[in-house]
Structure formats: C-alpha cells, structure tokens
C-alpha cells in the first residue's frame, strides 16, 4: 500500500492512516493530496481501501437513518409533480377515472321480445368488446412497462460489462512491475480543486491518466492528453469528464524512446494534431 505525499513521491501507508483517510473521506472532510491518493486507491479497487470506505460510508448512512423523520409540507410534492409530469413517459397506466368508466345500456322501450333480445345481445356484445379492448390495453401497457425494464436492464448489463473491462485494464496496470505514480502539477489556468495523477508502467509500455474535480470542457472544446518525447508532443487521446468531474484515459502504447512528461491541454473539439491551447497539467517523468 502506498500514498503520494505533497512532493509527488510515493510513500508507504499503514492501516491506521488508511482508516483515517477512509473515515475522513466518508465524512467529506478529506482534502488535498490525501483525498486524491485515496480516490486513486478506490479507482484501482484496492481491496483494503474499498472495504474500509464501504464500512465508513455505511456508518454515515446509519447516522442519517437514525435522524428523526419529519413530514415536509404537501406543497413540495405538488410542485415536484407539476414539474416532472410534463417530462414523464407517456406510456403510463390508464387513470383511475378512465378505468372506472362503465358501459351504459339504453332502456328497452318496445314490447317486441325479439327486439328486446336483439338490444340485450347488442349491449352484451358492446360490453364484451369494451372489456376485451380494456384487457388488450392493459396487456399493451404491461408489455411496454416490461420492455422499458428490459431496456434498462440491458443498459445496466452493458455498463457493468464496461466497468468490468475497465477494472481489468486498471488491474493489469496496477499489478505491473515497476509501476510509478506521477502527480500532475497545475498551472494558473487549472480549474480550482482539479487534480490528477498518471500511473505509468514503462515495462508494459502503458499508462493510466486519472483526474478529478474537473469541470466539463467549455462549449466547442475538449481536454487532450499529450506524451512529451523531449519537447516533441505526441497525441495520447481525449479526456472525457463524467458527471462527477472525473476522467480516466488508458494509454496502451507508450513510445519506446525516452519519455519526459505527460501533459493535459485545452484544445478545439475533437482534439488537435499539436497542442495549441492552455496547459492545465504537467507530470514530469524522472
């Protein structure tokens, strides 16, 4: 188990330190390089860090669950429903009002028994048709609900498979011999709080760039990662920030020649062949 200190060097970390970091992280009080290092351990699925964090997070959840519930005013729910209803899925079950409609039978005016029978038969047929129509409608509604659940499950499976593949890639790098962790240094234009590291394994010729607390790139812009061979920049790919402000980039082929640094710049949408925008991060290879 290792930690990255303020000078970007790798230092050993003991169980107590890890417990402290997990507790402070779950309480939202961990900050700076310690936060960055702990997030990296979680990103790498370090079993001890993951287990401790899960326990500490469960404590914070248990604390929340033991707080006395209070009933909010009814106006909040009304407001919420007014807001969400226009964006709701139109395939919803029929309203109570609609389902309680009953067929009305015209009173029989004539004494003609045949006509009475005919009218009764028509009414029964009409009721049967309505009941059947309602039954079909309900089935269609159930089918569409099930379809939407299947679609959601499909998306879930797809995402889990993606997570698994990503986890395997991270594990390969994390277990590689000669793994080095380089801390990114920020510049004047680096967003407040943004930070990152590069996991670098020269023996496998692979690297993993991890950044956090990053805002989304501005309209028409992308973040681009570069490898520097001396002063010669080589495009390593675009860094896509997720909704939680985190981004990772897996670099599979690092040049065999001497690599001097990794950098992140702001470039026009889709990236540039050479860096043109502000540099946000630089990590130097010793």
């Amino acid at each position: 188990m290792v930690d990255i200190n303020d000078s970007g060097r790798v230092a050993p970390i003991n169980r107590e330190m890890l417990e402290e970091q997990a507790a402070l992280y779950a309480l939202g009080a961990l900050e700076g390089q310690e936060k960055s290092s702990f997030e990296m351990l979680l990103e790498l699925q370090d079993p001890e860090a993951v287990e401790l964090f899960a326990e500490m997070q469960a404590v914070t959840i248990a604390i929340c669950e033991e707080i006395e519930p209070l009933t909010p005013t009814a106006a909040i729910k009304r407001n919420l429903l007014d807001i969400v209803e226009p964006t709701a899925n139109p395939e919803k079950p029929p309203s109570r009002k609609a389902s309680s409609k009953k067929a009305t039978v015209t009173p029989i005016q004539t004494a003609n028994r045949w006509k009475q029978f005919s009218l009764a038969a028509t009414a029964i047929a009409a009721m049967l048709i309505m009941a059947l129509g309602y039954f079909i409608y309900q089935l269609q509604t159930e089918i569409s609900q099930l379809r939407s659940q299947v679609a959601i499950s499909g998306k879930l499976i797809e995402r889990l498979e993606g997570d698994l593949a990503e986890g395997n890639r991270l594990l390969t790098i994390a277990c590689a011999p000669g793994l080095g962790i380089l801390a990114f240094n920020g510049f004047e234009g680096t967003p407040d709080g943004a930070r990152g590291n590069v996991l670098f394994t020269p023996e496998l010729g692979r690297a993993l760039v991890v950044v956090s607390e990053m805002p989304q790139a501005a309209e028409g812009k992308d973040y681009q990662v570069w490898m520097l061979e001396g002063s010669q920049p080589i495009d390593a790919g675009l860094l896509k920030v997720n909704s939680e402000g985190q981004a990772t980039l897996n670099i599979d082929t690092i040049p065999e020649d001497v690599l001097s640094a990794f950098a992140v710049t702001v470039e026009p949408k889709g990236g540039s062949p050479l860096p043109t925008g502000d540099m946000l991060f630089l990590a130097t290879v010793n």
């Binding site: 939202g28 404590v59 929340c64 807001i83 899925n89 879930l156």
Partner: protein
C-alpha cells in the same frame, strides 16, 4: 384483470421502484417521494435548521433523482444510502452558499462570538437534537470525538478547517475522527466488527 395491472407501487421493492423512476414513471416517483421524503427532510432540517432552505433542498434532491435515477446502480448501490448522501451533500452546498452570503452582508463581531452564552452553532446542534436515537450512539462517544464527527458531517468542515477552528493539530483531528468512526462502526454495524 389481475391486481398486477393496476400496479400498487407501495408494494414494489426499492430496486424496482428506482428502475420505474428511471423510466420516468410519475406514479413510481410519487411513491419514492412518500417513502423517503420524511427521512430526507429530517436530515435537511438537522443540517440546515431552516424550513425554507430545507424545502428547497428537498425539492432539488428529488428533481435530481428524477433526472439521474438511471445513474443509480441497483446491483451495487443501497437506495436509502444514495438518497441520504445526495441530500447531505446538497445541504452542505446550501450551507456554504448561505455562509458566503452572510459573510458578504454582515460584519461579524468576533468579540460577541467569543462571549459566554453567545450563539454557538456546534453547541446548538448538540442541544436541538436531544431525544434522537442518534444521540444514544453519538453521546456514548467522548465529546472531543463526537464534536469533530458532527462538524465534518453535519456542518461540512474539512479536516484542516476543523483544526483551525478548534486550534488543535491536524493529526489530532484525524486520530479523533478515526477513533470515533471506528466506535460508531462497531456499534451501528455490529457485523463489521
């Protein structure tokens, strides 16, 4: 028609309910609100102690759930926990925004704050929550551990802010929080021992 066709959402598990909310089903959303709004509102009131702000936060949290329910991982996540964390984080954001506004508009008299009997947010928090079940567990912690955990979780202070505010070394803050959280873990989650 079977009872299943007119779905009684109150019978659905959390996992199915959140999938239905992700499919933008208003009835499921309404049930989710009924199921969890009292807990989240209690949490918001504990942190904010301001009904107007707590109303706003509760509404924002549920709107966020409506928009982002599909990002909740039903395989690995625990819905009440996810909602508590969303609510707590939003409350701390609101607390910080309110604090910034106050700092801009009010010149704080440091001497008044230091006077005995003057308003002390930390002590207020301790006083107003008497009777909570939470007190039973938190009160059993040594005061110096309990106070730091509450400052971090319910007031949103970072480790260095706590050290600065209480004038104690950062290492002491870390140790006390670790010891306190470990004790709470052992009491609240006996299976984790």
């Amino acid at each position: 028609m079977s009872a299943k066709s007119s779905t009684d959402f109150s019978l659905l598990s959390d996992e199915i309910l959140i999938l239905q909310v992700a499919a933008q089903n208003v009835a499921a959303f309404s049930e989710l609100y009924d199921r969890y709004s009292p807990k989240l509102y209690g949490l918001a009131m504990k942190i904010l102690r301001d009904p107007v702000l707590a109303d706003d936060v509760l509404q924002e949290v549920f709107l966020n759930v409506w928009k982002k329910a599909d990002s909740f991982d039903t395989q690995r996540g625990y819905l009440p926990g996810w909602l508590s964390i969303l609510c707590r984080n939003r409350c701390i954001d609101a607390l910080r925004s309110r604090e910034k506004r106050r700092q801009k508009s009010v010149a704080i008299n440091e001497e008044t704050l230091a006077m005995p009997g003057a308003s002390n947010p930390m002590q207020d928090t301790l006083n107003t929550q008497r009777g909570d079940v939470l007190r039973i567990h938190l009160n059993r912690l040594p005061q110096e551990q309990r106070m730091l955990i509450e400052m971090a979780y319910f007031e949103g202070y970072s480790q260095s802010e706590i050290a600065e505010k209480l004038q104690i070394p950062l290492g002491t803050v870390k140790t006390r929080i670790r010891l306190g959280m470990n004790k709470l873990r052992d009491r609240l989650l006996p299976s984790a021992e």
